[in-house]
């Protein structure tokens, strides 16, 4: 406790990071860029992604010996929240957190040596393909099967709801083997691999990956059955916390927009922000934002101390339950506060609502995380 409270240098570097993300988002075109890229099959801009790599952000969670910065979720959360404030369409949490953690949690050191530096510099963009059914976040590998043969593995199955898949170079596919779930590296366009993309509310996409007799060479077994389940569940929990950070970024920006609107929009000869009914409504949204950011801060700090798996899952669920609920409420009510202009496509509030909806649903929604929290805390006797 006492050491964590006084660390001015680290707080300084975090403040600098926050500023540089804000600058970057502004210079890259802010919400206007997100608006332009809506519905575009490429979804995001690889040149912007490379720049983020050059700035070191994609390597925040990559261990230093593999070309990264070896920092924690606290720093990654600053980047995720900052990018989300400008609705950047790049898959920061999906690739730089979820995929990176899955690879780093694997047991293929040679693979890490070869691939992680390229992930960190942005030249290689992988995403995790583990989910098969809506509303189920399990790490068993589902119905996707991998069978060994002389040169490697043959994989068949279907993975769904893959965030960031549209422009990804490779997929980390979980599949059941005789020894249990393992994680494989499947490259885009490899024989037997097809990707379909489905449009999301926020103009981005979920990918569906179909694998038919896809061969994966032995060296591309990213995590063997002895570690893969653990690596995937760790990656999911940590990415869930970062998805929560994105939600905090989204809700903070849209709350600021709404408050500014309340200060300037006049009706009945007065700023609408002077009406008590609206003031109290705004305060309730502010309370939710404060709760969400306090929980996020506590959870991210606790996760960086490497808690055991049960505690880690509880923390991740707490963060997502609050941030998803608060994010949805604040973005929905932002529409109401803005009135008819809030319902137009031209105004940005709707873009924030849509992003919040996608983030809230991805990696387990609030209801799912409350149920998991309930089950886990009952088990832990809390």
């Amino acid at each position: 406790m006492t050491t964590a409270e006084a660390e001015p240098p680290s707080n300084d570097h975090r403040a600098m990071l926050r500023d540089s993300v804000a600058d970057f988002v502004a210079r890259a075109g802010d919400v206007g860029r997100a608006r332009r890229l809506r519905g575009n099959a490429a979804e995001y801009d690889r040149a912007v992604w490379r720049t983020m790599g050059e700035l070191g952000w994609l390597g925040i969670l990559v261990p230093a010996q593999h070309g990264g910065l070896g920092l924690g979720l606290a720093e990654a959360a600053i980047v995720a929240a900052g990018l989300a404030r400008g609705l950047a369409p790049e898959p920061y949490t999906a690739a730089a957190v979820l995929a990176v953690e899955a690879i780093a949690g694997g047991d293929n050191e040679e693979f890490k040596q070869q691939h992680l530096p390229r992930v960190a510099d942005g030249s290689l963009l992988p995403v995790l393909a583990w989910q098969e059914r809506a509303g189920e976040i399990e790490t068993s590998g589902g119905e996707t099967q991998a069978a060994p043969f002389e040169g490697g593995w043959r994989i068949g199955g279907v993975k769904r709801f893959i965030s960031g898949a549209a422009g990804a170079d490779a997929y980390l596919v979980s599949a059941a083997t005789e020894q249990g779930i393992a994680l494989f590296w499947v490259e885009r366009g490899a024989p037997g691999v097809t990707l379909e993309i489905e449009p999301l509310a926020d103009g981005r996409h979920f990918g569906t990956l179909r694998l038919k007799d896809v061969t994966v060479r032995r060296g591309h077994l990213v995590a063997s059955a002895s570690v893969a389940a653990r690596a995937v569940s760790l990656a999911l929990d940590r990415a869930t916390a970062l998805c929560s950070a994105e939600l905090v970024g989204v809700m903070t920006r849209v709350l600021d927009m709404s408050l500014e609107y309340m200060r300037t929009r006049k009706q009945f000869g007065k700023a609408i922000g002077s009406f008590q009914a609206l003031q109290h409504r705004a305060v309730d949204l502010y309370i939710q934002r404060e709760l969400a950011s306090a929980v996020l801060e506590e959870v991210v700090t606790a996760l960086d101390r490497q808690p055991d798996a049960a505690r880690r899952a509880l923390l991740a669920s707490r963060a997502k339950a609050r941030c998803a609920e608060a994010g949805l409420r604040i973005t929905r009510e932002a529409i109401q506060i803005h009135g008819a202009i809030g319902f137009t496509d031209e105004y940005d509030a709707g873009l924030y609502l849509k992003r919040a909806m996608v983030l809230a649903a991805w990696l387990g929604n609030a209801a799912w995380h409350r149920r998991r929290y309930s089950a886990l805390s009952a088990k832990a006797g809390l």
């Binding site: 700023a271 922000g273 002077s274 502010y286 801060e297 339950a321």
Partner: protein
């Protein structure tokens, strides 16, 4: 005089050592039957405990050591408050310690300090707060009780109400109007007075829980001596406002809702309610609301520990803590079903609980100390910078 405190520098102890010492003392000496009581404790029940803390030199953790207090810094104060909450120690009539003492030290004359401070410490003088009036609740500054200078005295007329434990008190600190022409905040003065002064009548008011905790106090030409005035004439509003921050942090502590949650969980378990998905969903949402309150509380605590002043945003804590506590007791009544509306302490498969009293005492939590609506006004104006 309180013997021990002047000599011990508690701030020199490590946080852990201080916490251990406080906890051990509380656990050893505080009467078991007064732990976690829901109502306000009466002076008769608390006077032995007061005496014990006084003799230990611990009755005034916030007062400087040279005044007979413990002289705790912010971080140690917080630990002291946390241990009180943790052990479920009832609040004695402590407004002399938390309010009057600090005000007299800052604004009182040497004579006022010499007379009142030691007697407040020892419990010889028990203070109640004469602020609210029938027509001045949330809008306190519109109070109408008057104090008129009259031949070296002040003549007081009017009525105070919601005066907690006035019938257990010997003295009152009073806000009264001394200038009818001035803007409403600027015509108020701060007085201290003996409740035995002729012309003062105290009438207890029964609350929803059936207890007589607060009172009406009537002033009918009560004559106060000139030295009843504290600070300058018409400075009362400034004086009263000076001491608000720390109280709102205390009121936002997650301890009370956490305790209520454990009771609810035990009853829910005894009645097999956690298997009912409708109940379980609401229960877990509340549990998370309280966990998240603790995260928010921790943030403000960190601020106090670093020696930073609390801003108006601390109102968030009071709103969330009290409204969450209320929702929790609502669910408690629902969990009890028919048994939830039975009076008194009942047993639910071995778990003793007084559901109705819990429910009742959560009601005024969103009214006292600045109602939830007033807190929202404060946040809208001073934090969200919304126009008025």
């Amino acid at each position: 005089m309180s013997p021990a405190a002047q000599h011990t520098d508690y701030n020199a102890l490590s946080d852990e050592a201080f916490r251990a010492e406080v906890r051990a003392f509380f656990e050893r000496h505080y009467p078991e039957n007064l732990r976690y009581i829901l109502r306000r404790a009466r002076w008769q029940e608390m006077k032995d405990w007061w005496r014990m803390l006084y003799e230990k030199g611990w009755i005034a953790p916030n007062w400087p050591r040279e005044r007979g207090g413990m002289g705790l810094d912010a971080s140690k104060m917080l630990i002291y408050a946390e241990e009180i909450e943790r052990h479920g120690i009832a609040r004695p009539p402590d407004q002399g310690i938390t309010q009057v003492g600090p005000i007299l030290m800052q604004y009182g004359t040497a004579a006022q300090q010499t007379f009142y401070l030691p007697r407040t410490l020892s419990g010889e003088i028990i203070w109640c707060q004469g602020y609210s009036e029938p027509n001045a609740g949330s809008d306190l500054a519109s109070l109408q009780t008057t104090a008129v200078a009259d031949g070296g005295q002040y003549r007081v007329n009017g009525q105070k109400t919601w005066t907690t434990l006035a019938h257990d008190s010997t003295h009152m600190y009073l806000l009264a109007r001394t200038d009818r022409q001035a803007k409403k905040q600027e015509g108020i003065s701060f007085f201290v007075l003996d409740l035995k002064t002729p012309g003062i009548t105290i009438r207890p008011i029964r609350n929803l829980a059936g207890h007589e905790e607060f009172c009406e106090v009537f002033f009918d030409d009560a004559r106060l001596p000139r030295d009843a005035l504290v600070g300058g004439l018409n400075q009362g509003w400034t004086i009263a406002k000076a001491l608000l921050g720390f109280e709102r942090l205390n009121i936002g502590s997650p301890r009370r809702p956490q305790y209520a949650l454990r009771r609810l969980e035990m009853i829910a378990r005894a009645k097999c309610l956690l298997g009912d998905s409708g109940f379980a969903d609401r229960f877990i949402a509340l549990k998370l609301d309280i966990e998240d309150l603790a995260a928010l509380y921790g943030r403000f605590v960190g601020q106090v520990r670093r020696g930073e002043p609390l801003g108006p945003d601390v109102s968030v804590l009071k709103i969330w803590a009290m409204e969450t506590w209320q929702r929790l007791t609502d669910l408690l009544v629902e969990a009890g079903a028919e048994e939830g509306v039975l009076s008194g302490v009942r047993e639910f498969a071995g778990v003793k609980a007084d559901i109705l009293t819990s429910f009742y005492y959560a009601r005024p939590a969103t009214i006292y100390g600045g109602s939830s609506e007033i807190q929202r006004n404060i946040l809208a104006k001073h934090v969200l910078k919304l126009p008025s």
